[in-house]
Subunit: 348 residues, 2 copies
């Protein structure tokens, strides 16, 4: 697409803003796609400039997943909405025991949004997709009037290939299975919250936003009979364990002392009156494994940089109420219930 | 998912509103998914309640496409954002010469949005997906604070299977090829605009929103050498023809008298100072065919209810400037340029 260059000066990424016309489907849209998205995401599919991307999938079962990202603020310690949108969807694919193949990205942008910020986000997406070796092959851009959006919302959708022989699903947890978490919890939520509320803690907490597909592949290679796999995003590990308990019709029992949490996150949670169990993560997974393969799964996680602080935190129990129970640091027990309201909206 | 019922009264679809907690990932989210999305979209994939849906694709090349929908108003004559989001993505798949297999749907909802309106939209999506026999297999829901969105935005993504032997792409138009449109243009844009501006015309114009995959399949069966296929959404057939011209490095020549437009759309456009060539359609296609198969393609279109007013409107020419030129009703000629600004924002 070279025509727009002959008519328009190049986009002014230093001072320019998104205008309604950038969503028109006309020349301004073509220019935005060419000079921003095409330049950053460049690959053979986007270069054909069709409204869809075709690919020859390896044979096997495919997975499809989609996630909308509305995080506020758009930039936070350890990441931004762009890297988050890539990692989040890669992780949803990985949690199906699948290898991510292709991503699509849909942008809903507010009129007046700074082109410099959009470029920073798009480049961050391109770096995240490149780092994970998963191309963004198709996309869409819409613009809404000032005051009808909030900067930018991004929906990413991913297609992945299921590793043969793997059957991972939230309804497969069985009494006696072990519960493993791949590292310290709560980093992402606290990182976003600290920036949103302009809080500064002694140690800055960085988001754990990261693509987990290679960590999952390593774990599955060591323990192919993993039963459930999920990433504790919104609602934290509390929501995740309640979902698994309910879908598998079992109870979950965890031990507080075994759950890894960074001291800075503990301090921030105490200061803010929050519970790390409910805080979102974007680079962690929870796995449920048969007890005989749990040690192998844990060792494989610990052997990977993204899982070196993995820990076994409890086990699955028979329980017709599907309760999640925790043995506290003080030796007591408490129910880990779902939250019905949201203490941390727009965390992802 | 039965647990939420034990804790919460059912959602009040008559008077209830979306709350921030519906996006929390906790029990309120689970309840919304169960009582609204699960009930409307019900299928084997959603029932497993995983964050991704797995499927066994038929062998062949797949296409992936995504589209964000921000239409305002959400309800308009002939459709709503829900049916539009299903039809739009099915059509992007169909325009790749592919058969749609699966859809995903991501919702970004503004706090305070009426549950009754959300239910109406979701049921309309379910009806559209059911009517087209393309299941919505996975989804996501986010809630943003009041004033940070505009009711609801929906991003749908689709996976489709390319019909073997078909090679359709925007860069394949060649001098001598014929240009066909599948029916009268401008209906969708005028339908949305009339509702938005509270205009009433003598004849109410209905959106043409419709799934075109069967129409495309019929045309490809009759003319498998179709070169380019695209639906004239944002920017209308003017933007579409300019895109094809640019991507194929050719010129386009069309005749105004051969382009079908309903009298009510002509009247509305005259009243509003708009040109039907630039108005969005959501149930029309433009095809470029080699001249030897154009008659067969046209006959196949006319033989289908969604293409009965199809017309041959012009041909592809050699032109190093990649111009789109039109012979007007009065026998003159004018350049059909892209619009650089958007006369009709948020039309899809």
């Amino acid at each position: 697409m070279t025509r727009s260059k002959a008519y328009f000066p190049p986009l002014d990424f230093a001072r320019g803003r998104i205008e309604i016309g950038h969503g028109s489907g006309g020349r301004a849209t073509a220019q935005l796609i060419e000079e921003l998205f095409g330049a950053a995401f460049d690959n053979e599919w986007l270069r054909r400039m069709n409204d869809q991307a075709a690919f020859e999938p390896p044979s096997g079962r495919l997975v499809l997943t989609t996630d909308g990202f509305v995080v506020s603020p758009l930039f936070f310690p350890g990441g931004d909405i762009g890297s988050l949108a890539v990692h989040g969807t890669i992780n949803d694919i990985a949690m199906g025991g699948a290898r991510p193949l292709y991503l699509s990205a849909s942008f809903i942008i507010e009129e007046g949004f700074l082109l410099a910020d959009l470029q920073r986000i798009v480049r961050s997406m391109a770096a995240a997709a490149g780092g994970a070796a998963v191309p963004i092959v198709t996309g869409d851009t819409k613009v809404v009037e000032r005051g009808k959006g909030d900067g930018v919302f991004i929906t990413t959708t991913g297609v992945g290939l299921v590793t043969p022989g793997v059957d991972i699903s939230a309804d497969r947890a069985r009494p006696g299975d072990k519960i493993i978490v791949s590292g310290p919890i709560g980093d992402h939520g606290i990182a976003v919250l600290s920036r949103r509320e302009h809080l500064s803690f002694e140690t800055e907490v960085q988001s754990d936003s990261a693509p987990l597909h290679e960590l999952v592949a390593a774990m599955i290679a060591a323990a192919p009979d993993v039963r459930c796999l999920r990433d504790p995003t919104r609602g934290g590990i509390a929501a995740l364990l309640n979902e698994l308990a309910q879908q598998s019709h079992v109870g979950m029992f965890i031990r507080e002392r075994d759950i890894p949490v960074r001291p800075a996150v503990v301090a921030a949670c105490e200061f803010l009156g929050l519970d790390p169990l409910y805080i979102a993560n974007e680079g962690k997974l929870v796995a449920v494994c048969p007890s005989e393969s749990a040690a192998a799964a844990l060792a494989a996680l610990r052997n990977h940089p993204l899982g070196r602080d993995a820990a076994m935190i409890g086990e699955v129990r028979e329980d017709s109420h599907c309760f999640v129970e925790m043995e506290t640091d003080f030796g007591g027990r408490r129910l880990v219930d779902w939250l019905s309201s949201d203490p941390l909206p727009r965390i992802c």
